[in-house]
């Protein structure tokens, strides 16, 4: 418990880890999308022009992979799927319409958050592997052009998918008030925990 009356949700190290990952992600999305469609090519100016954008994007990817891997090790055990999650998904309409009182109690993470976690994990892996295959400056000789065509098509599709997940993730953080504070300062209020993660609160109260 950090400040009096609040509950600690994320340690400082966890938050730094999260925001490095988020920063890399945003840089990757901006630099990647600049090459994705002509209408977004102007985004290369953010990185000092086309050649620099092309050169730096994969390096952001490497940092992202390392940072996300640490995040993954820290949080995956909180994100294992269980039966309550399936029930929660069944009530998703209530969640969306802000009628959480009719939804089963939630532990540290709800099913939506777990889905974000696992789809991010999967898509980052896919983006990394395909990204290496098309990183021609260093890896051109390792694969055939046919393989690279497959890789870039998948990279492109996966990038769109992960940005969609990212939009959902960010919006959820804005929509559920108090959540952003958890990741910014590390603490949430007991009311926030009661409202959104009641099982987690009970577990905390029991000292577990």
């Amino acid at each position: 418990m950090s400040q009096p009356g609040t509950i600690s949700r994320y340690t400082t190290a966890q938050r730094i880890n999260h925001w490095i990952t988020a920063g890399c992600f945003i840089l990757l999305a901006l630099s990647g999308m600049s090459l994705f469609h002509p209408s977004l090519f102007f985004l290369t100016d953010l990185f000092g022009g086309g050649p620099y954008t092309r050169a730096i994007h994969p390096w952001f990817g490497v940092v992202l992979l390392v940072s996300f891997a640490i995040l993954f090790v820290r949080f995956f055990h909180h994100n294992l799927w269980n039966r309550d999650d399936t029930a929660w998904i069944g009530k998703i309409d209530k969640v969306i319409s802000n009628h959480e009182e009719d939804v089963p109690d939630v532990g540290r993470y709800n099913a939506g958050q777990k889905l974000v976690f696992w789809s991010m994990t999967l898509l980052i892996l896919v983006l990394f592997v395909t990204g290496i295959v098309i990183w021609d400056q260093y890896f051109f000789g390792f694969t055939s052009i046919e393989v690279k065509r497959v890789a870039i098509a998948i990279h492109s599709l996966a990038a769109v998918a992960i940005i969609a997940v990212f939009i959902a993730h960010v919006y959820a953080g804005i929509w559920i008030r108090g959540t952003m504070g958890g990741m910014l300062h590390g603490s949430v209020t007991p009311g926030w925990a009661f409202r959104h993660h009641r099982k987690w609160l009970r577990d905390l109260a029991r000292g577990r």
Binding site: F36, P38, G49, A55, T189, P190, R195
Partner: protein, 301 residues
Amino acid sequence: MTDLQSLDITRRSATTGTPPDIRHQPAVAKLIDVSRCIGCKACQSACMEWNDLRPEMETFEGSYDNPSDLNPAAWTVMRFTEWENEAGNLEWLIRKDGCMHCSDPGCLKACPSPGAIVQYANGIVDFISENCIGCGYCVKGCPFNIPRISQEDHRAYKCTLCSDRVSVGLEPACVKTCPTGAILFGAKEDMTAWAQERIVDLKERGFANAGLYDPPEVGGTHVMYVLHHADRPSLYAGLPDKPRIDPLVWLWKGMFKPIALAGLGFAAIAGFVHWVVAGPNEVQPEDEVHGREILDHKDEK
């Protein structure tokens, strides 16, 4: 090449607007008559000389191909194939390899950098190197495996069809130099007509399958071959029988992109609409009361 002829550009990579269209030019073509090539590589030397390029010296690998492959400083390479025909005789098939200048260029379709690849009204496909970012997408888009990325300056290079010479009324350097007249240059129509005469001649001399290589799958090309075995282009060091822009390139570069952008925009708008309709999910004072209660009764079950 540099962007000197903006009035004559009909296609420009990664550009959504339409280029100027006031001037029209007849399509040009280079015709390579494989049956008349003696493999002397004068065209290769002329190409290096005109473009002032010196590929690195390589080691002998048991083949006449030298350099062994196209590279950023070798925009054309003679490829030698020793083929034993049905009658058991050796045929030496020598093909001058290089950019085919497709009417529907896969490199241009794939390129993400505005104006790094252009197609002129006469059909020549040119790399405007100052706009190139070195991503290698053109390599993936090309059906003929032609562009090469330099590891020194990280830019793509290939045959320009001597667009600089052609624009001032000269023929390409390779054409100028060929001692047997195996390479010709002119209006595509004239080159096609001339090729037909050659094909008749070859057929009379026993090459029943002689023909013109001008593959329609890429809209035709502005570099064409007369082949003695036009039924089997792949005999000639793997010249594609049916070159086409790979379906994966269409998937990657086609309608998917605008649809994906619209989809992402829609996702963001959906968030905004949700905010307006359902509103933020605020923690209520009674939640705080309940939350505190739970925390304060830690020992209870």
